[in-house]
Amino acid sequence: MIHKSNLEDKPIIELKNVSLQIPLMSKSDFSLKRKIIKSVTGGGFTRTKDNSFVTALNSVNLKVHKGEKIALIGHNGSGKTTFIRLISGIYQPTFGSLKISVKVYPMIQRSFIVEEQLTGVDSAKAHYLMMNNSLKGFQSFLEDITEFSGLGDYIFLPLKTYSEGMSARLMFSLLTYKNHECLALDEGLGTGDREFYDKAQVRLNDFLESSGSLFIASHSTELLKRFCMRGIVFSGGNLIFDGDIKEALDFYEKFYS
């Protein structure tokens, strides 16, 4: 549980009336031809419908304190992933104020950084460099990844020779190696085959418990109840509930029943 004194601290994330509008780029927006026509007609050819956008998040107000573990609840397309991208710095708010004093590490549909002709070792090296900007300590990282993923000598083979399960195991091992000050996880991390599942669950539990602050977007009530004490419910880009996890889940069920 979060200590009461933390709530009195300055929030690590604070959103005030934050909205995010994602422009809908029509084909004509990418067209040089249309740009040229616009320039010679002095903009008289502009169509207002080209400037349409989707309000992905609408006037969101939220304060998050250090150590809080928050469940992001909502249907697909409700704004959970957009919210994760926003607090991670991938998106910037269109309106409102967003203050973040921690580095939020997003985990959304991750892929290997290197091409699939390269080996698991190359992939691990690129991932390690991306996290640490140096190869110091890489050897022990590689040993841990190889052992935990159970890939053995396959780690020296090109990624394209891996089965889907092997790729998922390697990806899971890479992503859960290091703890983060603030983690934002979108849905579960793929864990590959059944044999690996139990092992992965233990590591995932440790990983999530050890992260300083946590956001989890998931449809798994069990996962959310286990790790989170607070839940926020999204619907159509609006934050419609913010409170205790059980109340949030009840609210969500009632809202959509």
Binding site: F30, L32, R85, I90, P106, I108, Q109, E115, L129, M130
Partner: protein, 261 residues
């Protein structure tokens, strides 16, 4: 403005080991199934020089084939990274869409990665071509000392050109179709296959072609051993200004790039 440019430079510097490594990995991936590996970078240039040299040397009735091969060889080896940078730039962000949308890796990282890939490919190809020509013309070894400034200019030129085109190419997808035509025209209009004097009264085309100016200074400094300090310095200042300008444009578009993908 100064702060935002410094932020981009700082991020690029901090992540330098990663994008340099992923660029090496890209070369490894490209030649993973070949026996000669990245040696192909030099071999392909040498084969092109050999074929084009015989044909165009005969067409232009050159008096000294060795000199012509060297002229053509260095011209082609310098042209290749410029041309590849221009043609590949519009794809830089679209080929990394997943990473851009789902991680905190900034778009400039992928521009640096592609730049490093072009520089590494150029250095490997250049080294091989240079060593082959050195066996026929040992004087080239000393001439190399006249070239460092122009080497720097080439790599800086590729960087800002690629950055600008990648931003424009992401927004205006027609560019990807248009650029190969432009590079083909530029190649034929630049004195690479032929000497500038062959352009006759159209010589001004080469004078106003910035790509050719960068290429010419490096090529001629290696072949003739002339340092061209003044011109090189002017190009250097121009490159630095364009780097600042392109980073400024990048900073304004950095958060919008993701919406075009």
């Amino acid at each position: 403005m100064r702060n935002s440019i410094l932020k981009v430079l700082n991020y690029s510097y901090k992540t330098r080991k990663t994008w340099w490594f992923t660029a090496i990995a890209k070369t490894k991936a490209r030649y993973a199934r070949t026996v000669l590996g990245s040696f192909w970078l030099g071999i392909s240039t040498l084969l092109t020089v050999l074929c084009l040299g015989f044909v165009y040397g005969t067409v232009f009735k050159v008096s000294n084939f060795l000199d012509y091969f060297i002229y053509l060889g260095f011209g082609l080896v310098i042209w290749t990274p410029i041309c590849d940078s221009i043609n590949q730039a519009p794809l830089i962000f679209s080929t990394n869409t997943n990473s851009l949308k789902n991680s905190t890796i900034k778009p400039i990282f992928f521009v640096c990665q592609e730049w490093a890939f072009q520089v590494q490919s150029f250095l490997q190809a250049f080294l091989m071509v240079f060593l082959v020509f050195l066996t026929f013309s040992p004087g080239l070894a000393i001439n190399l000392f006249a070239a460092p400034l122009h080497f720097i200019n080439l790599v800086l030129f590729i960087f800002w050109l690629q950055l600008l085109i990648s931003l424009l190419g992401t927004k205006y997808t027609d560019l990807f179709q248009l650029l190969p035509i432009i590079t083909n025209l530029l190649f034929l209009l630049s004195p690479i296959l032929y000497a500038k004097k062959n352009l006759g009264s159209f010589g001004f085309i080469a004078d106003f072609n910035p790509i050719y100016q960068v290429l010419r200074l490096l090529r001629n400094s290696i072949i003739y051993g002339q340092p061209y300090f003044e011109l090189g310095f002017v190009v250097l200042v121009g490159n630095l200004l364009m780097i600042f300008l392109s980073i400024y444009v990048y900073k304004n578009m950095e958060k919008k790039v993701i919406f075009y993908l």
